[in-house]
């Protein structure tokens, strides 16, 4: 168990100009569950592979505990990794797969058996110990890959989208299993995913990456409530935040005939007249058409516990705003004319030119 520190770590793939990971500064606390999230090509997997030693670090340093591991071989870093495709050894049984590391380290046979059995018990794999991976289901293979990591009792767990090959139902179940297992073992974990729901539900803290650059690293709550820029605002949360580009004039942000006032600090932080207004689906109040922004309901998605209305405002028929009516309000129907009012506490303001959040 140890702290992990990325210090200006950069990776430039040979033959490319732009870095895949660009001077990444990240401190992961001892025992923390850190999730790296971002769209494909954001460098999250590259960052993980740099930590694993599978990818060279072109600039900067990486520390595990107090040790500088920048130039240390993967096998000497005392880490365990779970791969997206599990990377099981096909010719070995489940027990041999889990015990591979211990066997290489030439531990006594009795100890290997004991530790493999413990790991298998933890993951409900005991009945399958003598099977080969080809005869396991996807979920079982995933658990074998987890077992192979757990049995090592490493300083750091690295997980590269371990759930992306499971079906939706199993993914949700395994998500909580992994999170609770990590809490129980208390091992520092770096978890890569492109799924912001996974990131929000599993991580103690979440680091959002885009084009190799760290955007924001904070607790899921803060990422959701105070996204640092338009990208994070749009990426975290599902369905995503409504981002509406508008402009500033006489004292406030103009939105569909209304004025949202700006504080002097917000005004000072603005680099131009363009402001992006961000309101999450649950941040709207539905009122009668003549009170709020008039709009027509196009589609209603009924999910049982929630429902989402896709509405087209009258001022711009090409735009769609996603609205989640709160439980106190009646769910609108397709074709209804409604009025929308953003709740003041739910409004996020960003500078359109830079994408940066305006100070509160």
């Amino acid at each position: 168990m140890a702290k992990v520190i990325f210090e200006k770590a950069t990776r430039i793939y040979p033959g490319t100009q732009t870095p895949a990971v660009s001077s990444l500064d990240l401190e992961i606390e001892d025992g923390e569950f850190m999730v790296l999230v971002g769209p494909s090509g954001s460098g999250k997997t590259t960052a993980l592979r740099m930590l694993a030693g599978l990818e060279a670090v072109d600039e900067g340093r990486i520390f595990i505990g107090d040790r500088d591991v920048t130039d240390v071989q993967p096998k000497d870093r005392d880490i365990a990794m779970v791969f997206q495709n599990y990377a099981l050894y096909p010719h070995m049984t489940v027990a041999e797969n889990i015990g591979f590391h211990l066997k290489i380290k030439k531990r006594p046979k009795a100890e290997i058996r004991q530790r493999v059995l413990e790991a298998a018990r933890l993951l409900d794999l005991e009945p399958y110990l003598d099977r080969k991976p080809a005869r396991l289901s996807g979920g079982q293979r995933q658990r074998v890959a987890m077992g192979r990591a757990i049995v090592r009792q490493p300083q750091v767990f690295l997980m590269d989208e371990p759930l992306s090959n499971l079906d939706a139902k199993l993914r949700v179940a395994t998500r909580t299993q992994i999170a609770s297992l990590q809490r129980r073992l208390g091992v520092t974990t770096v978890y890569v995913t492109h799924d912001q729901v996974e990131a929000m539900t599993m991580g103690d803290r979440v680091a959002v990456l885009r084009d190799g650059i760290l955007q924001q690293c904070d607790t899921p709550r803060v990422l959701f409530d105070r996204p640092i820029n338009v990208f994070v605002a749009g990426f975290m949360g599902s369905p995503q935040m409504n981002l509406i580009e508008t402009s500033v004039s006489d004292g406030g942000v103009q939105f569909a005939g209304r004025t949202i006032p700006l504080t002097p600090t917000q005004r000072a932080a603005l680099t131009s007249e363009g402001v992006t207004l961000g309101v999450r689906p649950e941040g709207w109040d539905i009122v009668s058409p003549n009170e709020g922004v008039p709009a027509i309901v196009e589609i209603v998605e009924e999910l049982g516990s929630d429902s989402y209305a896709y509405v087209t405002p009258e001022y711009d028929p090409n735009r769609t705003i996603i609205v989640r009516p709160n439980s106190a309000q009646a769910t609108p129907h397709k074709g209804d004319h409604i009025g929308l009012v953003p709740r003041p506490s739910a409004i996020h303001l960003f500078d359109t030119a830079t994408g940066v959040r305006l100070p509160d």
Partner: protein, 320 residues
Amino acid sequence: MMRRILRPVVVAAGDRTPSSGAAVLAPPAPIRVALRPRRSLRSRRARLLLHCAVSLIMVVWIVPTIGLLVSSFRPSSELSRSGWWTALAPPFHFTMSNYENVLSQQGMGRAFVNSLFIAIPATVIPLFVAAFAAYAFSWMEFPGRDLLFVVVVGLLVVPLQTTLIPILKIFADWGLTGKFLAVWLAHTGYGLPFAVYLLRNFIGSLPRSVFESAFIDGASHVTAFFRLAVPMSVPAFAALAIFQFLFVWNDLLVALIYIGLSNSQNLPMTAAIANLVNSLGGGWYLLSAAAFLSMALPLVVFFALQRYFVRGIVGGAVKG
């Protein structure tokens, strides 16, 4: 055999479509049901065509072999009078005398042992060397790796015959001519480019993450080679072993050049069979029996290893 291997794959592919799609996308299901008969009809027709082609090729290849087998049991007097297919109709006149004759020939038993003694090391040595090389070309980073690989594969175009005289000269200088070691070395050299090429392609296409996982688990290259690359490449080794064994077993030229008629006690069966005609003149009717004897062992080898041709063992390594 082919059918049995193919069927589970087809079933698995069919299973996947409904299971992944049905839960999320209910609407397309009826469309798929409607399409199914037509698609299966088309695939059945394609399969029929495939079976016909395979059967035709098989017949073309197997008829001469059957002819050889039948001829080897016919008396010499009938052999020269009528075609082998006439023997298939009664009255039957089969005899073992050809085989008795061949087996009683001087040196035939010894030649058989010589052939084994040449073919086994000449198969094992290049396989070992090629496996190491293939692993290095696949999973070890070193400068000039790709260039070196291209050079090795480029050696495939060098005709074996152009090397005979220079290598014979070298072997003569080293005092190797007439010895088994000369033939082992020669066959190793001739077999390596293809062996390296085939094994590199196989080992290089094993899932990268399996090796990365092993390196993180603490494996060195030596461990990764023996515990991962070798066991996962068994089908490729088996295929290559059969090729190389058959090539060496059927080889006459290399053995004749590097061992030479003057060291006839070391010559393999191919040379002994060739001598059969020379020494007996009209004894050509013995050829069919001798040829069939020399085919027997390769057939055994092939049937022993043929399951590795069709069955891969990589299943289950990555997702699936």
